[in-house]
């Protein structure tokens, strides 16, 4: 009854850049529809200048976030999961509408996404032991390798899996201390834009995650060519776009994480496949099963290994004390 008398309160979805919620610099928006073509909301259509601003914000945040202790980062990420839990209903609604899932399937996807976030939160202070350690060397040295974050990472979120896939690509990037510029799924950006609101209220410093919506190719091109972006995750790009972006990314030797190849190929070739290898033509991201156990490859993709050689002094007759 009262529903009929109430005016609808439409939400203005906005970008999330530098801890703030700006509209696109270009002033443009585009219509976001559900899986059946029904209008859901208008989302900002980002321009290359929004991408540039996001990179500046991500660079600014990098020092603080990469310098925070791994333990602290883990706590902050766990806090994000707590906040997601509290807004589960909203995400279920948005995921159900944009992916055309039943309510129960959408709820399962959101639960999985929250669990995924917690899983990555736990990795922050453990990845150092997995990806680094003391190396046995043939000489009087204590030789240590430690992983360090790569820097500013541009992330093209999966096109179809609007929330579970999104979380699966963002969380590993920031868990290891990188900062991210995320290009949300072009057709289903609403869960990503809502995630920005969660991040803003959960102790994640502004600029650590920046979320842009719009045409993937338009935003990704300047990010791939940007000299101040250190790595790019091409998950959300189709084969042709991924190739183009990888060429642009080569200019300043960005680390590139290629989109997953189709499941017909053995998975151990995923890393060595060339950009022109056959990938699912209808959005490469869908060949990845986001509900599967993610492993650590997304955590290690954006790490640099620093190795320290520390002299132990001459080895006496009794050998090194190390």
């Amino acid at each position: 009854m009262s529903d009929q008398n109430r005016l609808g309160v439409f939400k203005t979805y906005k970008l999330y850049v530098g801890g703030k919620f700006p509209r696109s610099e270009s002033g443009r928006v585009y219509e976001v529809t559900d899986s059946k073509g029904q209008w859901l909301a208008n989302a900002p259509q980002s321009s290359r200048k929004d991408a540039r601003d996001a990179v500046v914000a991500a660079r600014k945040a990098f020092g603080g976030w990469s310098g925070a202790t791994a333990y602290n980062r883990g706590q902050v990420l766990y806090r994000v999961a707590e906040m997601l839990e509290g807004r589960k209903e909203q995400f279920v609604r948005e995921v159900a509408a944009s992916e055309g899932l039943s309510k129960s399937k959408a709820a399962a996807a959101v639960d999985a996404a929250i669990d995924r976030w917690v899983w990555y939160a736990g990795w922050t202070d453990k990845i150092g032991q997995i990806a680094g350690g003391a190396n046995p060397v043939a000489g009087p040295y204590l030789n240590l390798s430690t992983p360090e974050p790569t820097g500013v990472v541009a992330v093209l979120a999966p096109q179809k899996s609007s929330f579970l896939g999104l979380v699966s690509v963002i969380a590993p990037v920031i868990a290891t201390g990188n900062t991210a510029v995320v290009v949300a799924s072009a057709d289903a950006p609403l869960p990503a834009l809502s995630l920005g609101e969660v991040l803003a209220t959960s102790d994640v410093p502004g600029g650590v995650v920046n979320i842009l919506s719009g045409a993937t190719a338009e935003i990704a091109a300047p990010l791939a060519a940007h000299q101040d972006v250190n790595a790019i995750d091409l998950t959300g790009a189709d084969a042709a776009l991924a190739k183009e972006l990888e060429i642009a990314a080569a200019d300043n030797l960005k680390r590139v994480l290629r989109p997953p190849v189709t499941r017909r190929r053995p998975s151990n070739e995923a890393q060595s496949a060339t950009a022109s290898s056959p990938v699912d033509a209808d959005g490469a991201s869908d060949s990845e099963d986001w509900s599967a156990s993610p492993g650590t490859h997304r955590l290690t993709a954006f790490l640099e290994t620093k190795t320290v050689w520390h002299p132990t002094g001459a080895l006496g007759a009794a050998g090194s004390s190390y």
């Binding site: 990179v55 300047p222 060519a225 000299q227 101040d228």
Partner: protein
């Protein structure tokens, strides 16, 4: 008083005459001034016009280091940057000047000899200006002897705010006499003058006393150059030239850090004072980090790719 324009000789005859003149200046419409500065800041400057603006802005920079921690090595590094801002692109223009404290002026002069980049030195007990006139003049003498081509002085804000305008005026006159061939920039520290009317009055005192440049601020207080106070000073130099035929330069300083900001100021110059001021001889930016942003934007225009702080020097 040979430096005072004849049209205004009466104005500076006595303290009361100067006060009458300054208070006779039209009051500033603060709301209108800020609205006009804001509306001029919305102009969209793109492609070839942007390239022109970036190069012009680089050539207008007084590359500044005014820290207690300045060393001769830092000044030499800054001088090298002023001469050759972007080593990867030799078409990049040089900056206008390097601005240092007086004790670093000789180091800067040696490093810049023959380059065409000027040496600017702050003086007169910068930034507070709280010293006896003799000390201030000695400071100026020292800087000029060390090879400064330009002197940036600060006015006595204490005297100005307590209404002793003639004292401010005479101090500028004395410093101007001490400068010899060096061009004199008069800093008002607009952030300490409270009102736009005061900024207009200070501008006129400076211009009447023979300043070659009027400059907004030292960069050492909370409020530095803003579009509105720079617009006001540009109006003052425009009106002064219309009345006397004498052209005076303007230098906003402090807080201008991005290309976008710099271009906004250039629009203000063009729309207020006119094209005659779009020249490093008549308009300067007092800045340090601005240069890096201009260089990054310049690289973006020439390569099509956004550049980053890894590709410019760390100051």
């Amino acid at each position: 008083m040979p430096t005072t324009a004849p049209a205004f000789a009466d104005a500076t005859a006595s303290d009361s005459a100067l006060r009458r003149f300054l208070f006779g200046l039209p009051g500033v419409d603060a709301v209108g001034l800020e609205a006009r500065a804001a509306s001029l800041g919305t102009r969209s400057i793109k492609t070839t016009a942007k390239a022109y603006a970036i190069d012009l802005a680089i050539s207008m920079i007084d590359l500044t280091t005014l820290e207690g921690a300045d060393t001769p090595g830092k000044v030499r590094a800054l001088a090298a940057k002023a001469v050759n801002p972007d080593p990867t692109d030799r078409t990049t223009p040089r900056t206008a000047a390097v601005c240092v404290y007086p004790d670093m002026a000789s180091t800067a002069a040696a490093a810049l000899a023959g380059s065409g980049v000027k040496v600017a030195s702050v003086a007169t007990a910068f930034p507070a200006g709280r010293a006896a006139l003799d000390v201030k003049l000695a400071d100026v003498r020292d800087a000029v002897a060390a090879g400064a081509d330009e002197i940036d002085m600060v006015i006595d804000r204490g005297a100005f705010l307590s209404g002793r305008f003639l004292k401010v005026y005479e101090e500028i006159l004395a410093v101007k006499a001490e400068c010899g061939p060096a061009r004199l920039k008069v800093i008002f520290e607009t952030g300490e003058l409270s009102t736009y009317d005061n900024i207009r009055r200070a501008s006129w005192i400076g211009m009447l006393a023979g300043a070659d440049f009027i400059k907004t601020s030292t960069g050492k207080v909370a409020t530095n150059a803003t579009p509105a106070n720079t617009l006001l000073m540009l109006e003052a130099v425009r009106d002064f030239r219309a009345a006397t035929g004498v052209q005076i330069g303007v230098k906003p300083a402090g807080g201008i850090r991005t290309t976008k900001d710099a271009v906004k100021f250039l629009v203000l110059v063009n729309e207020t004072a006119g094209e005659d001021w779009l020249d490093p001889h008549w308009f300067r930016f007092g800045a340090s980090s601005l240069l890096n942003d201009l260089l990054m934007q310049r690289q973006k225009l020439s390569t099509g790719r956004y550049s980053g702080p890894d590709y410019v020097t760390v100051d």
